[in-house]
Each structure stands twice: as structure tokens, then as C-alpha cells.
């Protein structure tokens, strides 16, 4: 035994254990996110269970079983549950009972005490609503276009689905009018207001002013008429969406009327086969990726967050690539290799290790308040005191991240430049090429893979960074996307949503944490995917370039 210890074998094994632990953690983490994230979209069955209370009364619980947990009796008692004297451990179940408008509670724990076996009735409906979360209950009848169809009718299910589809279509139409057309009118109105204000600021007078003012007045009258027409159209649509109602029975025996205008989807998950569920799964996954969030981000999709993240990273790449590469070329090819350059180089390398929040502070103070404030003073005076660039937004977020990732690009490009054999440079120079020609036609192309590597690393870092963005332009809910059909099409001053911040916000600032939890896992999964995808794309580009230049340099 002692010899065994002396040989050092146990230490080798302990070291091996450390690696194993690291690997288990890595794989476990990814696995945890994947399982929870993917699991969110699977339509789970709706369980019905009867609970006999201690006083003999019975109550019915209908909902999705979220998870169960076995705890010690002491913990359960601490949480205020009744536990019979002789039990040491007790299992409790977390049900998503929904019906938040009825009961005020969404998720409820029930202990196994007095619990009858679970049943999965076919007529248990899950109604996804635009407000108040899910509704769980049993259908009674549907009033559609003045006709009442009881749930027992054979036509019931089909009529319900048609009516739901109709109301969703109407809802989309309403949204299109409100968002696009009325939005456009509002933008125009705002522009007129600014025109008017800048007339005052520029102190225009005389004929020019009269002409301008008449133009503004005329245009706003036109807009007003247009708006009234749209308003009427909207009123009609609104009235029409409220045509159908569904009467449901809750688990506590109440009858509730649900207007189909408020419904996103009606399913009876217990009747679905596995294939049906898989189809439903894909539909939900697609909606998650392409729809806007609802209900304080705890429901619906995350499209604006994905879009915001990608746009921001894109704008950042445009800024960081040229500057990073030029700085690296300067440091490696043009600067005199003396002590000063060495100090600069070490400092730049070290900036890669500076906490990201420091960049956020700098971005907020210098970019937003100082630069942005000055830009507003100069170019957007008419809009003041409402700031345009003097407030956090897409451009500043991108610029801050560009600064944050600059050292990464510089370091990587410099390494690439340093690896190019000096014989190649000398060969080029010996053939009579100038330094610039050598640089741009020989050295830089050879170093392109290294530059791409730098850009990849920069993008991967930027996409996952949250702390500085909280200060310089990311918000929990942005009303508009940074890119749209209104001139100038890309709006650098707008605030954006961001996947990483979405995770933080939904997971920690949300009023309904339990409901938000699966969404956070799903968002995290998307973020991991996005980062891995960005990495893989860039890596494949890098490899292709490497191949190309390898043949070119041979």
C-alpha cells in the first residue's frame, strides 16, 4: 500500500479524476440545457387527480405535472404541508394548473397525502391564451356564429379549430394594421412635428415659413383622414374577433366563458398520438423562434431577441474587423520593435482580460452620454429633449462590443502575421515590390485565416456578452426591430433585445418565475446553438481559406 502511494499512481488517478469531473460537468451542463430546453416544446399530457383531504373532502386537480420531488418530512412540514406522523419522506408534485385569472395561482405543489391515482381524461383541454397564461378545463359548448354546439357533438372539434383559426387570422390582420400602417402614420406625424420644430429652431420666417407650414398642415390632415379610415377598419375587425366563445368547466366546477379572440391554440393533449405530438412539437418550436414574446416575456417567442443579437454582432463585426486588422498590421509591420511597442502590445493583450463591465461603464459614459449627447446637440436638435443617440442603443452597444473584442482580433491577427516566414516577405521585396505591395498582396492574404480566427473569437465573445450591454442599449422589451421598411431601414439609435439579456431578465426579473423557467432553458439553448453555429461557420470558412492559401503559398 505504501509502495503504491510512493509510486505516485494515486496522484495520477486523482489527476485523471479531475479531468473526468471537468468533462462530466461540461457534458452535464450542455445536456441539462438541451434536455430542459428541448423538453419545453413537447405537449405534455394533462393529468387529473383527486385528492382526499384530511377532513374527508375531495377536490379535483387538473393540470400538467411539471415535476415531482421527494423531501424529508421535516422539510415538508417546514413548508406548511401536513405530513402523517410515521412518514420520514414524502413526495410532492408540482402541477401547472393554469387558470391564473380564476385562481390567481399558476403552479401549485400537492403532496402525495390523500392522492388518488392519476387519470388522463380525453376531454381535458389546454387553451393557450394571449393573456393570463394557459387554461385547463373540460369543454361544455361552443357558441360560433350564433350557433351553440355542445362538446358531445361530432362537429364540435372541427368547428372549434376552424373558429380558432379564423380568430387568429383576424388577430394577425389587426396586428398588421396596428403595427405597419398605423405605425407608418405615426412615424410621418412625428416627422412633421420635427419639421415644425426645426422651423422654429432655424427661425425661418416669411414666405418660406408659410409654404412649409401649409405643407405640414395639409399633410397632417391627409394623415388624419387616413388614420380615421384605418381606425374604422380596425373597429370592424375587433368586433368580428369577439364573435365566438367557448364555455369551459374548470377542475373546481366553475363554468367559464372564453372568447376565441383571446385564444392562441386549443389542444386536447391526452388524445394526441406520439406522431401528433411530434408535429405539435415542431410547430411550437417554430413559433418560439419566429414569434414575438407575450405576457412580460414569459410566453410566446424570442424572435426579436435573436434578431437583435444577430444585428448587433453584425454591426460590431463591421466595425471591429478593419480596425483590429489595421492595428495589428501596424504593430507587427510598421511600428519599430522597441520597448514602447512591447508595452503597447502587452497592454493590448491585457485589455482582453479586462472585465467586460468596465467596457460597459466606458461605453455608457463616453459613447452614450458624451458622444451621443454631442451628436444630439448637433444633428437632432429638433427632437430634444427626447434623446436620439444620447441614450443607450444598438450603435453604442455594437461600438462597445467592438472595443471589447478589438484586443482579440489584434492578438489573433498579429499571431498570424508573426507566423509568416520572413523569407516570403524578403522574396517579395527582392522582386522589387514595395512594402505596401508586399503587405497587401503577399502577407495579408496569407494571414487571412488568422484574421478570420480572430473575428470568430470576437463574434463568439460578443454574442454571449451581457453585462456591458445592460448599460449601453439592451432592453427587456423593444417595441420595434432595429431593421424595418421605414427609411433609413437600419435604425442604429434603437434599443434592441438580446438573447443573453433575455435569459437574465426572464429568469430573474419575471413576475412568474416558474412559468418562465422552461422558456429560459429554451432561450439558453438557442443562445448556445447560435454561438456554436457562429463558431462552426467561421471555422469552416477559416479551414477553406487555409486550404486555398496553402495551395497559393506553396
Amino acid at each position: 500500500m505504501r509502495a503504491w502511494f510512493k509510486s505516485g499512481t494515486p496522484w495520477v488517478w486523482l489527476n485523471a479524476g479531475a479531468v473526468a469531473v471537468c468533462m462530466i460537468m461540461v457534458v452535464g451542463l450542455i445536456g441539462l440545457i438541451a434536455v430542459r430546453g428541448f423538453g419545453h416544446f413537447w405537449p405534455s399530457s394533462v393529468a387529473e387527480v383527486e385528492i382526499v383531504d384530511r377532513d374527508g373532502s375531495r377536490r379535483l386537480v387538473l393540470g400538467e405535472l411539471v415535476r415531482s420531488q421527494t423531501v424529508t418530512a421535516a422539510v415538508a412540514r417546514d413548508a406548511g404541508n401536513y405530513v402523517p406522523e410515521d412518514t420520514a419522506q414524502i413526495t410532492r408534485y408540482l402541477f401547472k394548473e393554469g387558470n391564473r385569472d380564476q385562481t390567481g395561482r399558476d403552479f401549485v405543489w400537492h403532496t402525495e397525502v390523500g392522492m388518488q391515482p392519476f387519470r388522463y381524461p380525453d376531454n381535458a383541454f389546454v387553451i393557450e391564451r394571449r393573456e393570463w397564461g394557459n387554461f385547463y378545463g373540460y369543454p361544455l359548448h361552443l357558441t360560433s356564429a350564433g350557433e351553440t354546439i355542445p362538446a358531445t357533438d361530432v362537429r364540435f372539434w372541427n368547428t372549434l379549430q376552424t373558429a380558432t383559426a379564423r380568430s387568429i387570422k383576424l388577430h394577425d390582420e389587426i396586428e398588421a394594421i396596428e403595427r405597419r400602417r398605423i405605425g407608418r402614420i405615426n412615424t410621418d406625424m412625428e416627422r412633421l412635428r420635427l419639421d415644425k420644430r426645426s422651423l422654429e429652431l432655424r427661425e425661418v420666417s416669411g414666405a418660406e415659413r408659410v409654404i412649409e407650414e401649409t405643407r405640414i398642415a395639409e399633410r397632417s390632415r391627409e394623415l388624419e383622414i387616413e388614420y380615421q379610415a384605418l381606425r374604422q377598419e380596425l373597429d370592424l375587425l375587433y368586433k368580428s374577433t369577439f364573435r365566438d366563445t367557448l364555455r369551459m368547466l374548470t377542475d373546481s366546477g366553475d363554468e367559464v366563458d372564453i372568447s376565441l379572440a383571446m385564444v392562441v391554440r386549443v389542444t386536447a393533449p391526452n388524445t394526441l398520438s406520439v406522431i401528433d405530438k411530434a408535429g405539435e412539437y415542431l410547430v411550437r418550436l417554430w413559433e418560439f423562434l419566429t414569434h414575438d414574446p407575450r405576457e412580460a416575456n414569459t410566453e410566446g417567442g424570442i424572435f426579436p431577441a435573436i434578431f437583435g443579437t444577430v444585428t448587433m454582432v453584425f454591426v460590431m463585426s463591421i466595425m471591429v474587423t478593419p480596425f483590429g486588422i489595421l492595428a495589428a498590421i501596424y504593430l507587427r509591420e510598421y511600428a519599430k520593435q522597441n520597448l514602447m511597442t512591447r508595452i503597447i502590445r502587452i497592454s493590448v493583450y491585457n485589455l482582453a482580460g479586462v472585465p467586460s463591465i468596465v467596457y460597459g461603464v466606458f461605453g455608457l459614459g463616453f459613447f452614450v452620454y458624451f458622444l451621443g449627447g454631442s451628436i444630439d446637440q448637433m444633428f437632432y436638435e429638433a427632437k430634444l429633449p427626447a434623446p436620439t443617440f444620447g441614450t443607450p442603443g444598438l450603435f453604442w452597444a455594437s461600438l462597445t462590443l467592438a472595443l471589447l473584442t478589438l484586443p482579440i482580433v489584434i492578438v489573433s491577427t498579429e499571431e498570424g502575421l508573426a507566423r509568416i516566414p520572413s523569407t516570403i516577405r524578403q522574396g517579395s521585396l527582392a522582386l522589387g515590390a514595395t512594402k505596401a505591395e508586399t503587405l497587401w498582396k503577399v502577407v495579408v492574404p496569407l494571414a487571412t485565416p488568422a484574421m478570420m480566427t480572430g473575428l470568430i473569437l470576437a463574434i463568439a465573445r460578443a454574442a454571449g456578452e451581457v453585462a456591458p450591454l445592460m448599460l449601453v442599449g439592451v432592453v427587456k422589451l423593444a417595441p420595434t426591430l432595429p431593421v424595418d421598411g421605414i427609411f433609413p431601414y437600419i435604425h442604429l439609435e434603437r434599443k434592441i433585445m438580446h438573447l443573453g439579456f433575455h435569459i437574465y431578465d426572464v429568469g430573474f426579473q419575471s413576475p412568474n418565475v416558474e412559468a418562465a423557467r422552461p422558456l429560459v432553458y429554451a432561450t439558453a439553448l438557442v443562445l448556445v446553438f447560435l454561438i456554436v453555429a457562429l463558431n462552426l461557420t467561421a471555422i469552416s470558412i477559416r479551414n477553406r481559406l487555409r486550404e486555398r492559401y496553402r495551395s497559393a503559398s506553396d
Binding site: G8, T9, W11, V12, W13, N15, A16, G17, A18, V19, A20, M23, I24, M25, L29, L32, Q69, V71, T72, A73, A74, V75, D78, A88, F323, L326, A327, I329, Y330, L331, Y334, A335, I344, I346, V348, Y349, N350, L351, G353, V354, P355, V358, G360, F362, G365, F366, L406, T434, K435, A436, G464, A467, M470, G500, F501, G507, F508, V520, L527, I531
Partner: protein, 766 residues
């Protein structure tokens, strides 16, 4: 254009030069030269620009922090004779917009005048009862505008000055007004009708409205009146209910009385420099609680409450200034305590003007000096000669921008004052500070509150301790795993496995920390709370389990099985062992709780007096350790892997075992690299924001308890910077915090980088 291709027609009799003409070549050369220069200058400019931009971060953070170090400056603006020179001033005030000045005269005349020129704006006489005369004056703390005027017939008149804003023709016009909040009638404070030599007033505005009046009569009695007012809903008339009390006699000859606005305490300053503290919270049973020698032999010439009426500033005959407030001891008794001193003026303090929304004040003395001091930070920001004769009265504007000084000769001086950041000083940021209402000096971070009277507490110590605490536990978790893992991966692992392990651990570095943070906060924290015994058993028993398995594998198993797995696959063998053991620990966890900890280990901790927060340093340590592992692992692995092979080969050839070679040769050679890896990891842990933001309770505590949370510098910035006012002291402190973080990580990384470069040169020489 200058292509010399081999396909050109060689058979042509007249060989035409393929080179362009002289002119064209000259042009081309020029263009190439221009391009070369343009490229050089373009790149140099861009390079400098980038370096400059990065240097800007330092410069800008300094620039934002710098104003904190500045003291106060006072710039005299104008001097004029007081508009009512024949009337001695009881008090001076400046109105909010710094346009008007106000003087309460001893004759009962209230005079409003323009601050710039001294031109008279309005004169309103107090509604004094017929035949009476003002004999004493008191104000109810800064910002209330309420004043009490003691009369020679034992009555008190309570008045309030106010300003009405109107905007005729778009510009502001201020109309001064005088109101009587408790009615125009004077209240009888002394039933015997003696003249009131001194008076004090305090009003409670929160909760049930009440006012307390104290007076000292010329026959040396201390009287107290509590007024409770009720406004009639229907008529709007104010009904005032008065209760009169006589207090125990005061030892000594009073010169100043102060009532706090909680209506609990009365402080009477006597001519010998003693302060007598009366508890008047129950006026029927008011008692003299304590007498202290506040002047220490020197008479007190000025005493004034700071805003909030908790602290009293005492100024003495020989120019000393000190701050006092009531401190509660263990047995719940209050005693007036000297908290701190300010720089001495060297001449008798004659006037003190407290600021309206901060714990600062301006003091004037008998030699004509003005001093600007601040309570919390104990700073004297300005102390200089202002006029050439004694200062009689001082007033500061509510926004701390303007001063009004009355000299003994009746000349009024108005001055600009710049005093933006008095709260901050080195000692306020890093030392223990005795805050108002606290029993002891403490380190506290509490930057803001709803009330104007709030004393900002800007100690960076809790945040720095929190930062170090988080980094410490993270390193405790990450260091052994990362370094040991790196040694194994670099030295023992088969290349095949290494090809998988290294990139997968390194890819973790790209994993956003927000994901780690949310998992730590939403999954790990509740999990750890529910399975505490499992966590402990894993930490303690897992290494032992590994050794047991290793022993069984290498010693007890038959060689046939052992040899079926080549060396370098130990890690893979251990994976099922670890997973199995972790699973077992989790399953057994509730039973351990039942057997040893009365069913709940968390409760057990609470019972033995250990605070347990769900989101604590343990959770942060694991999560942030996880974030740091790839950093340390990757650099340390490189350092170990690049140790020249002939060194270890030599060691092995001399008969050392593999492990002995590692300990004796590889580690000493690679140790600087490993050290620099640890430094890098530490740098990352110090600055990490999202994990600590999400996995701790963000409470700024000063301790190293693993079961409590913390607030780090970085998380604090993330939480508070979006909320704070641009340019305020709080804003600048947060910039300072960022600067501290920047400097700290920069230094740590530089050291690590230099060590690594040294190592590189050493390896190349080996």
C-alpha cells in the same frame, strides 16, 4: 500592363520592348510610391487610433473620477449693504432658484431682496400681537421653511415663507409669500407671560402632523408646548390643540436650544459649553437624560442640526467644529456622543448653515473666514478668508450653489460655491465610518434611498470584500480541478482522448456566463439547498472513492482485465465511478438528513447559528469556478505540454516513475506558466458580472461565510449605474469602482503575461 508572357511573338524581326515607355514608368513609379506612402500612413494612423481608443478607456475613467478629488471653491459675486441695515438679522435664507434672498429681522420684518443686487423685492411684517416684540427666533430645520418667533409676552408666532412661481411672458417670476401654517394667532408658550429668551421648534410632517415648541423664559424656566393640528374637511379651517408642559430646570445658562423633528429630543446648549439632552418623547414626563461637556472648556458659540435633525454641529469659541448625535447602547439608552471633528477655524464660530439635502454645512467665524465641511466624510473642503470682519450670518441655497454672508458691519456678500462631491474621501470609501443612527463605525454600502435626508453610505469595503470572496471560492473550486486536469491531460492522457478533452473544455470558455449564472441561480441554488449532505459528501468522499477505485483497479484486478485498457485512459475509467457515486450521494442525501440533521440540514445550520442564504458563495464558487476552469486549464495545459521532452525523458531514464518525473521535473519547469494561468483565472473571476449578479443575493455584507451571499464591484455597477444620475457622486463612485476593477485586472494580467513571456524564452533556451 507589364506582363512579360512567353507567348509574345519572338519571331518578329524587330524586337519591340515590352516595357512601358519612360513616361508611363515614371507615372507608375509615382503611383506605387504614393500607394506605399498612403498605406504606411493609413495603417499608422489607424494603429495609433486604435491604441489611442483603448488608452481612452483609462483616460476617460480617470476623467470621470477626478472631480471627486477636488475640494470646494467659493467665488465672490457681489457685495452690497443689507436692504434693512437698521434691523439686526435673525436669519438669512436663499430661495431655491437662487434669485432671491430673505432676511428675518429682529423687529419682526421679513425682507425679500434680489440676490445679485440687493434690491428690495418685498417687505412683509410678521402678524405680531399688538404691543409685543420679537425676543427670540428659531427655525425648524433646513427645507421646512417653518420659523418660530418667540415674543416678549410669552407667546410664539409660527410662520412659513414660501414662493409662488408664475411665468408671465414665458420667463419665471417669483413672488414671495408669508404664511401661518397653524393660524395667524400667536400661541401661548409660557402661561405666566414671561419674555421668551430662547425658542426652538420642530415639526413632524410624516404620519400624524405635530409640532413641538420649546422656550426658555427670562425667569429661567424651560417650557414645552406640543401642538397637534387638524384641518377641518368641510371648512378648511385649522384646529390646533395645545398642551403645555414645564421641563425640569436646566443647569447653567442656556444660549441655544434645538429640537429634533422626530419630536423626541431637546438639546440645550449652555454658556459654559455644556449640552443638556432632554428626552421629550413623552412631554408629560420629560427628563434631563444627560449633560456633556461638548466644548471641552470652550463655550459653544454656534450649534446647528444637519439636515434630518439627527446630527448636531457644535462650533466653539476657539474655532473647533465637531459633530454629535445620539448613539444607542446595548441597553437601548441613548447618549449624545462626539462622532468626529473638522478642521479648526482658529477663531470663534459665529454662524453655521447646513445644506438642505446633504450632510454638509458652511461655517463662518469671527475672523471672517468661511469653511465648507462635510459630515459623513469628515472632510473640510474649503477654509479661507472671505471678508475682513466677523461673519454674522451665513445662508446656503437649497441646491448648494450660492452663499449669502452677512458681515458684522451690515454688508451682504453673495458668492458662488462649487461643492459637488463632498461625500467622497479616501477614508469615507475605505475606512469605517460612523453613520447617523448607528451604534459603531461600520463599513456600509447603501447608495440611495427615497428621502432627501438620507445619508449616502459609500464604503467600497463591502464590495471589495464581496469581490474577493467570490473570486476566492471560485478559485478554491477551479484551481485543483483545472491544474490537476491540465497536468493529466498534458502528460498522461493518450493523444486520442486529449484531442477530444482539450477542445471541449476550451469551448466552455465561449459559453456565455449568463447561462452559467442562470443555471446557478435557478437550478443549482435550490438543488444545493435541498441536497446539502450530497454536496458535502461529494466534496469530501469523491477523491477517496477515486483512490479506492484506483487501488482496486491497479492492485486487486487480474492483469488480464487491467491490461485490456492501456495507460492514459484512467480518466475515462473514472467517469462511471464518479457518476455512480454522485448519483448515490444524491439518493442518500435525504436519509443522511433524517439520520443526522433532524430531517433538514439547512434548518440545522440555522439552529446552530449559521446564516444560510439560498444563493450563496458556495453556489457562486461552483458556477464561477466552472467559468474559470477553461481559462486556467488551457494556459496551464499549454505550459505543461510545452515542457521540452528531453527533460522528462532524462528523468525517466534515471529511473524515476512517471509521477516522480512530473513532480520533480515538469512542475518546477512549468510552474511559472501554471502561476500565470492562475493569475489569469483570478483576473477573470474578479471581473465576472453576470454569474454573481444572478447567483447571489447581491447583499453587500462583509464576511467570508460560504453560506451567505455577497455583492461584488462588477455586479454593483451593473445594478446601480443605469439608475444613477449622471455626474452625481454616486455616478462617480461607480466609475471609481470600474477604475479599480480595470487597474486590478490590468496589473494581474500584466504580471501573468510577463511571467509567460519569460517562461517562453526559458523554454527556448532549454
Amino acid at each position: 500592363m507589364n506582363e512579360t508572357s512567353s507567348t509574345s511573338d519572338q519571331s518578329s524581326p524587330r524586337l519591340k520592348s515590352l516595357l512601358p515607355g519612360v513616361e508611363a514608368r515614371k507615372k507608375l513609379r509615382k503611383r506605387r510610391l504614393f500607394k506605399d506612402n498612403a498605406s504606411r500612413w493609413g495603417i499608422t494612423v489607424a494603429g495609433f487610433g486604435v491604441v489611442f481608443a483603448l488608452a481612452m478607456i483609462f483616460v476617460y475613467l480617470f476623467y470621470e473620477v477626478a472631480p471627486v478629488l477636488r475640494g470646494a471653491t467659493i467665488t465672490p459675486l457681489s457685495t452690497y449693504t443689507a436692504p434693512v441695515a437698521d434691523d439686526a438679522a435673525n436669519a438669512l435664507y436663499i430661495e431655491r432658484y437662487e434669485e432671491l434672498g430673505l432676511q428675518y429681522g429682529s423687529s419682526g420684518m421679513v425682507t425679500f431682496f434680489e440676490l445679485e443686487s440687493g434690491a428690495l423685492r418685498a417687505q412683509i411684517p410678521l402678524a405680531l400681537p399688538l404691543g409685543s416684540r420679537v425676543s427670540s427666533y428659531a427655525a425648524a430645520g433646513p427645507g421646512t421653511h417653518i420659523t418660530a418667533h418667540g415674543l416678549d409676552n410669552g407667546q410664539v408666532l409660527i410662520a412659513r415663507h414660501d414662493y409662488d412661481l408664475s411665468f408671465p411672458e414665458g420667463s419665471r417670476y417669483i413672488t414671495p409669500e408669508l404664511e401661518y401654517p397653524l393660524g395667524t394667532d400667536a400661541f401661548t408658550l409660557d402661561e405666566q407671560g414671561h419674555s421668551l429668551e430662547l425658542v426652538a421648534i420642530a415639526s413632524r410632517t410624516r404620519g400624524r402632523e405635530a409640532t413641538l415648541l420649546a422656550g426658555y423664559t427670562d425667569d429661567k424656566r424651560l417650557v414645552l408646548a406640543s401642538l397637534s393640528s387638524r384641518t377641518n374637511m368641510m371648512t378648511g379651517a385649522v384646529v390646533v390643540n395645545t398642551e403645555l408642559h414645564t421641563l425640569p430646570p436646566v443647569p447653567g445658562e442656556p444660549v441655544r436650544m434645538l429640537l429634533d423633528k422626530a419630536l423626541r429630543s431637546l438639546f440645550v446648549v449652555d454658556s459654559a459649553g455644556w449640552v443638556h439632552y432632554y428626552d421629550v418623547s413623552n412631554p408629560d414626563n420629560a427628563q434631563l437624560v444627560q449633560s456633556v461637556d461638548a466644548g471641552e472648556g470652550s463655550p459653544i458659540t454656534a450649534a446647528e442640526f444637519l439636515v434630518g435633525t439627527v446630527s448636531i454641529i457644535m462650533g466653539t469659541q476657539n474655532g473647533d467644529l465637531s459633530q454629535w448625535f445620539l448613539v444607542r447602547d446595548e441597553s437601548n439608552n441613548y447618549s449624545l456622543t462626539r462622532i468626529r471633528e473638522f478642521n479648526s477655524h482658529g477663531a470663534a464660530i459665529t454662524a453655521i448653515a447646513p445644506e438642505y439635502n446633504r450632510k454638509g454645512f458652511v461655517a463662518g467665524d469671527a475672523s471672517g473666514q468661511l469653511g465648507v465641511h462635510y459630515g459623513t466624510s469628515a472632510r473640510t473642503l474649503y477654509l479661507d478668508q472671505f471678508i475682513d470682519q466677523p461673519v454674522a450670518q451665513v445662508a446656503i441655497s437649497p441646491l448648494n450653489g450660492r452663499l449669502l454672508v452677512l458681515g458684522e458691519n451690515g454688508q451682504l456678500h453673495s458668492a458662488d460655491i462649487w461643492n459637488e462631491h463632498p461625500q467622497l474621501s479616501f477614508s469615507a470609501l475605505w475606512n469605517k465610518v460612523w453613520y447617523e443612527g448607528r451604534a459603531d463605525p461600520e463599513y456600509i454600502w447603501q447608495s440611495s434611498s427615497g428621502s432627501d435626508e438620507f445619508e449616502s453610505k459609500f464604503s467600497l469595503v463591502p464590495l471589495s470584500v464581496g469581490t474577493l470572496k467570490a473570486a476566492f471560492y471560485a478559485m478554491l473550486f477551479a484551481m485543483p480541478l483545472a491544474i490537476m486536469g491540465a497536468i493529466y491531460t498534458a502528460y498522461f492522457m493518450t493523444p486520442k482522448l486529449r484531442g477530444i478533452v482539450k477542445p471541449s473544455i476550451e469551448i466552455m470558455e465561449a459559453l456565455p456566463t449568463v447561462i452559467l449564472g442562470f443555471l446557478a441561480g435557478l437550478w443549482l441554488a435550490p438543488f444545493a439547498e435541498d441536497h446539502l449532505p450530497a454536496i458535502f459528501s461529494i466534496v469530501i468522499l469523491l477523491p477517496i472513492m477515486m483512490l479506492v477505485f484506483a487501488f482496486i483497479w491497479t492492485r486487486l484486478l487480474p492483469a488480464s482485465i487491467r491490461n485490456s485498457v492501456p495507460d492514459g485512459w484512467e480518466a475515462a475509467l473514472l467517469v462511471p465511478v464518479i457518476i455512480g457515486f454522485v448519483w448515490l450521494s444524491i439518493v442518500l442525501s435525504p436519509f443522511i438528513e433524517i439520520w443526522f440533521f433532524d430531517g433538514s440540514m439547512r434548518q440545522w445550520f440555522t439552529n446552530i447559528g449559521i446564516t444560510y442564504d439560498q444563493r450563496n458563495a458556495l453556489v457562486v464558487g461552483i458556477a464561477m469556478g466552472f467559468a474559470v476552469i477553461p481559462t486556467i486549464f488551457s494556459i496551464a495545459e499549454d505550459a505543461v505540454f510545452t515542457v521540452p521532452g528531453h527533460l522528462t525523458q532524462g528523468s525517466l531514464a534515471l529511473g524515476a516513475t512517471r509521477w516522480q518525473s512530473v513532480v520533480g521535473v515538469v512542475l518546477p519547469t512549468a510552474s511559472p506558466g501554471i502561476f500565470s494561468a492562475v493569475m489569469m483565472g483570478f483576473g477573470r473571476a474578479v471581473g465576472e458580472t453576470m454569474i454573481v449578479l444572478m447567483a447571489t443575493g447581491n447583499s453587500p455584507v462583509v464576511n467570508f461565510n460560504i453560506f451567505e451571499g455577497m455583492r461584488t464591484l462588477s455586479a454593483n455597477i451593473a445594478v446601480e449605474l443605469p439608475e444613477t444620475a449622471v455626474g452625481s457622486s454616486h455616478f462617480r463612485v461607480l466609475f471609481l469602482a470600474a477604475l479599480v476593477l480595470l487597474a486590478l485586472t490590468f496589473v494581474v494580467n500584466t504580471v501573468a503575461e510577463i511571467i509567460r513571456q519569460r517562461l517562453r524564452t526559458r523554454y527556448s533556451s532549454l
